[in-house]
Amino acid sequence: MDAEGALAGLKVLDLTTARGQFSGRLLADMGADVIKIEPPGGDHARRIGPFLDDRPHPDRSLFFWFYNLNKRSLTLDLRNPRGREIMLALARGADLVIESFAPGEIAALGIGWKELRAANPALILLSIAPFGQAGPYRDFAADDTILTAMAGMLYVNGSPDRPPVRPLGLQAYHSSAYYAAIATMCALFARDRDGRGQWIDLSMQEATVSAVEHVAGSYFGEGRVEPRRGTLHWSRYFRVARCRDGYVMHCSLGDWTSLVEWVAGDGKAQDLVNPEWEDVLYRAVHAEHLFDVLDDWVKDYARDELLDRAQTLRLPYASVRRPEALFDDEQLAARGYFVAVEHPELGRTIRYPGAPYLFNGTPWRVRRRPPLVGEHSEEILRADLGLDPAEIATLAAEGAI
């Protein structure tokens, strides 16, 4: 069938900074031609670590690499009038422009929605901003940490008697990027009907609010302000426990009879043999007592031993593993999750986390390693805009590229 990727043929101009860059990767992964447009010297995200061998350099940022796999790079000074012209010329041949500048900034540069739409009425513009393009907090400054705070995500992380703990990873950025990629797909479907592009206003605060499953639901449904609960999941069916060589995660969903038989066989069931515990809601209501009893049961087990036996009984227990273990995980290996990406100029091949899905018709694949700063500038100007080497040299001399 079609081995080009599901989004083959789509052209995307990616002006995003660190907070928006994952959205372009999600599209590039599936075959869209995503051109990362960076300021001369490279995107700021290239200065964020970790770095390869801990040596900071714009072409050695692992942070940049993860989010920019499969993209091409063009350096362009959007403040330079010739740079702006090139941007608009590229927009004429593009399907999408993605940007994550402060609201109003692209308009100030003369490449706002008005100019882009005039250049190409079928173009879709996606603007990713911390608080969207309008509203009283529009100009508030925020990074991922501040977004998790203002979206109600940070407050529910950690223990009730201690300060909130920062969520792991860039969850606000990731949630926003997924919604951004989904929004562009929706706009493409709409365009397919009437040929017209549109402007998408994506608020990262709203995307992050939407990513905390229980906070709004509890408030509107039951008038409850969700507290921090430590490792007890808000549903009250999961909690972390210490075992002999680390931690495991309890789960009181699944086949209760099998679990109690096992625990009772170890002489640790206490009152859990009583019939009221067969009711799943009773288990949730009395979760603290339930997990205290089970904590005493698991403390002498090794975590993998417990995991294997639980899964044999179809009990949804898990071991709390180190992330390093993922690289030796048989399941991920069997599915080819990690993919070797060659960096020939560094003489290195590095295993990247790959795609979370297998498409049987239009598969995911690595087409190119993350780009060096401006690596494809000449190729793009030549092939996409038809400029000749002399014109390109002039642009470089003028500082536009």
Binding site: A6, R138, N157, P167, A318, P356, G361
Partner: protein, 400 residues
């Protein structure tokens, strides 16, 4: 009203719990016709409000017994009239019903099937039973979300259900998009486990390239150095709530200068040990102590306003009431949706975090009770008359 982006796309939705319904909620919000195929009785608790109200709004529901061969027949007839069939079961379930891609593509070659199982359909652990929180534990997430002591501290929620759900919606749309070009459907085997580990992508590359064992980052910034960077306890609210915090994130020298100015340049800010980012990082315990003293005298909302007006990235550590009832920005943007329930009451639900200027999505209907759309789906779509449906109910293939 402008047409919605996904109008004309019909989804046969077998998903349950959270991740799957998150995926199909996104499609339904943008105009896809999502038909949930469910069994009776469903799980206890309200379907109309809370998380369930959030998850199933804009969807239809039919009550079909898939343990009955004629129930399966109904599902297969619907698959012929659908664009997408989506589930989050483990591999064997859809196969056992003959509802897997290999079977359905024979009766509808254009069908897209997306299966969002916990660990994927292939591999030695494809039969693992899992939920969002257990996938986070297996993925290294739970280990890295720790107190300074190393004791696991979270999560109290399942980001895995969200990353899985978002990936499911995106994968569905990409496969449907490819179909426009190829005319062919396909099968997408999505692993929620693989989706959630991508959120620590840069850390995984650090392991792969630098062989570095990861430690819980705690309050170290995960996007380049920052100091101050943390939460500081504020004055109690006037209603007595004393769990009030402000989050601060200061990176550049210009941001530091603005913070100092907004604080009124107290003496300690001139101390040479806070002069550069490097020094602020090195002396952050002392820096945090000064800021904690300052914050203790401030209301969190007022502190945020003061600092943001000065151009400092500062945010109220918002709780449920803050985001749902008090945040003026979310209210001004009309973020929360409103639905009218069967009894005439209205309730709010989580809104749609993407505004498409020409064809915005919409929250149209509340979460349906199980089987609420039997008339429309079986009568109108499949053309079954009343007698036939009554007979299927009597046979145990349908719930009324």
């Amino acid at each position: 009203m402008a047409p919605m982006p996904l109008e004309g796309i019909r989804v046969l939705d077998f998903t349950w719990v959270v991740a799957g319904p998150v995926a199909t909620r996104i499609l339904a919000d943008q105009g896809a016709e999502v038909i949930k195929l469910e069994r009776k009785p469903g799980p206890p608790g309200s379907r109309q409000t809370g998380l369930q109200g959030d998850l199933h709004r804009n969807k239809r529901s039919i009550a079909v017994n898939m343990s009955h061969p004629r129930g399966v027949d109904i599902a297969r007839r619907l698959a012929v009239k659908s664009d997408l069939v989506i589930d989050n079961f483990s591999a064997r379930v859809m196969r056992s019903w003959g509802m897997d891609y290999a079977s359905l593509s024979q009766i509808n070659p254009a069908i897209v099937c997306v299966s969002m199982s916990g660990l994927g359909h292939t591999g030695p652990r494809s039969n693992y039973v899992s939920y969002g929180p257990t996938l986070q534990a297996l993925g290294g997430f739970t280990m890295l979300m720790a107190e300074a002591t190393g004791e696991p501290a979270g999560y109290g929620y399942s980001y895995a259900d969200m990353s899985g759900g978002y990936t499911g919606a995106l994968a569905s749309l990409m496969a449907l998009w490819a179909r426009k070009r190829t005319g062919q459907g396909q099968f997408v085997d999505l692993s929620q486990f693989e989706a959630v580990v991508s959120v620590i992508g840069p850390a995984l590359l650090d392991i792969a390239a630098n062989k570095r064992d990861q430690t819980p980052p705690g309050w170290a910034s995960q996007e380049g150095p920052a100091a101050p960077h943390g939460v500081y306890r504020c004055r109690p609210r006037d209603d007595g709530d004393d769990d009030r915090w402000i989050a601060l994130s200061v990176r550049t020298q210009a941001e530091w200068d603005r913070l100092v100015a907004a604080l009124g340049a107290p003496g300690w800010t001139a101390d040479t040990k806070f002069r550069t980012l490097y020094l602020r990082m090195r002396n952050r315990a002392e820096l945090d102590a000064h800021l904690a003293t300052w914050a203790a005298g401030q209301h969190a909302e007022a502190a945020m306003e003061l600092l943001q007006r000065a151009g400092v990235a500062a945010g109220l550590v918002a709780n449920g009431a803050d985001i749902c009832a008090r945040d003026p920005h979310l209210r001004d943007r009309n973020f929360w949706g409103t639905v009218t329930l069967a009894d005439g009451r209205t309730t709010h639900v989580t809104g749609i975090p993407m505004k498409l200027s020409a064809t915005p999505g919409a929250i149209r209907t509340p979460s349906p009770e199980i089987g609420a759309s039997n008339d429309y789906v079986l009568g109108e779509l499949l053309g079954m008359d009343r007698a036939e449906r009554d007979e299927l109910v009597a046979a145990g293939a349908l719930w009324p």
